[in-house]
Symmetry: C2
Subunit: 303 residues, 2 copies
Amino acid sequence: MGKIIESVINFSEGRDTDKIEQVINEIRNTEGVKLLDYSYDADHNRCVVTFIGEPGPVGEGAYRLTAKAMELIDMEKHQGGHPRMGATDVIPFVPIFNTTMEDCIELAKEVGEKIGSQLEIPVFLYGNAASRPENANLANVRRGEFEGLKEKIGTPEKKPDFGPNKIHPSAGAVAVGARKPLVAYNVNLHTADLKIAKNIADAVREKKGGLKNVKAIGLKLEDRNQVQVSMNLVDCEATPIHRVMELIKAEADRYGVTIAESELIGLSPQKYLIEAACHYLQLNDFDPGQIIENHLLTGEGEE
Amino acid sequence: MGKIIESVINFSEGRDTDKIEQVINEIRNTEGVKLLDYSYDADHNRCVVTFIGEPGPVGEGAYRLTAKAMELIDMEKHQGGHPRMGATDVIPFVPIFNTTMEDCIELAKEVGEKIGSQLEIPVFLYGNAASRPENANLANVRRGEFEGLKEKIGTPEKKPDFGPNKIHPSAGAVAVGARKPLVAYNVNLHTADLKIAKNIADAVREKKGGLKNVKAIGLKLEDRNQVQVSMNLVDCEATPIHRVMELIKAEADRYGVTIAESELIGLSPQKYLIEAACHYLQLNDFDPGQIIENHLLTGEGEE
């Protein structure tokens, strides 16, 4: 079974569809990667593209995309509602299958080094790949944006990890890093009482003393006459989906409210759902190789 | 996402490892299929080989294996403890991912027709691909084995679906069909009382009035001082794993006994475990496309 990594690259073009397609084509034309999704927004003037594959091809795709965005996007002329510092703004690598965070950190360093030396764009490592603790948080890396970074870059607190010690005149700078997958998970309750959803959200969210790695708010679903605990789960390995679900169930009990259903929004790695199955079925000795299809998630020629 | 089919072919050689390897090599050398497992047994004088891939390559692998087994195995000289009627004895096609039983039936007919016409081996369709109700049961198709079939083949009740109306002198006849995946699932109980495991096995097994598609026995696990309900689940779509688990839990309650853990032996399609996750998490609107890795389960060039 091969290692599978996801990348969710943000680049600074959300208006010129011809340019957007040219940049995305670099992913389409990279052998061994699969384009999963892309979306862009004129207000943010930004595009987000998601693709997966084994580490080598994913790194190659990320590099090619960065080279093409550098060619087409001029940050001196760029305006948009989202904080940004480069033509290619953020390149995260995310472990999906048979991969560790270390694999993603290694890939971030490889790709960062190549972008720095070949394209002469300054690169900041962020997230789990950060070389300085403050750079774990992307917002810190991007503070000041393109315009502010032009002045500050090269000072001790803004020294790039790779590439020149100055801003690239048109492509700016790029954050390359590693992070865990994000899961958007919602639980709908058999009540129309928004207060209950808000109380439960407060009970389960990290910020209010609940479960670590859980961000939660209470919402009203007008068309269903129900309320929802709407969540982002930022580390489902440490804080698995079933534990979040069971805690919500226990808190809802207090109000005599039952769970109507739950929703997973967008994508998830397989392992997070398999983990839930193993928990409830008490399958304590399960191996991913027991899933038939996983044997097809592999590089060429391996057996 | 591509269609993925599994085949679990049984061929009549379990002693001559050189011949076994030559037959298995036909699968290794078929592009687009992945060999998952093979095992053989001298007493049965029989080998079981499991491989997966998209329908075209899996059919091609099954045909090539059959041609090679015909070349190397002479049924006139074959002896073994397992009922058999041909050099290649049974070829089932099993829907695994993004595939229907109809796809597998179609493939069985295609491959059966090719084996019949090109190799001149008589072919009986069985299982869900059977053209006559009595042939749904493989034991009926194989009754009389190679020696008996030599006489009876061609009579109205033993008319092959494809190929000549007589036995192949060295390769015999082959059953080609379609069936659901089999799952071997065991539940271990926090008691050493074998009677309880036997009672629960009787409660859940189809034969005794329990759940359809469940075969179950009670066993003692001497080394653990526990007992086990050991099961074969023959249709986890109709009778999902979680329903079996919950019924066992409910029956065990009667004796004040809890579940120690469960085990899945060998392989399962992904969907059966995802179904369990969806059940317990109440994910009623889940789509397999939400699993990131599933986008890599695809033919070349598809997007």
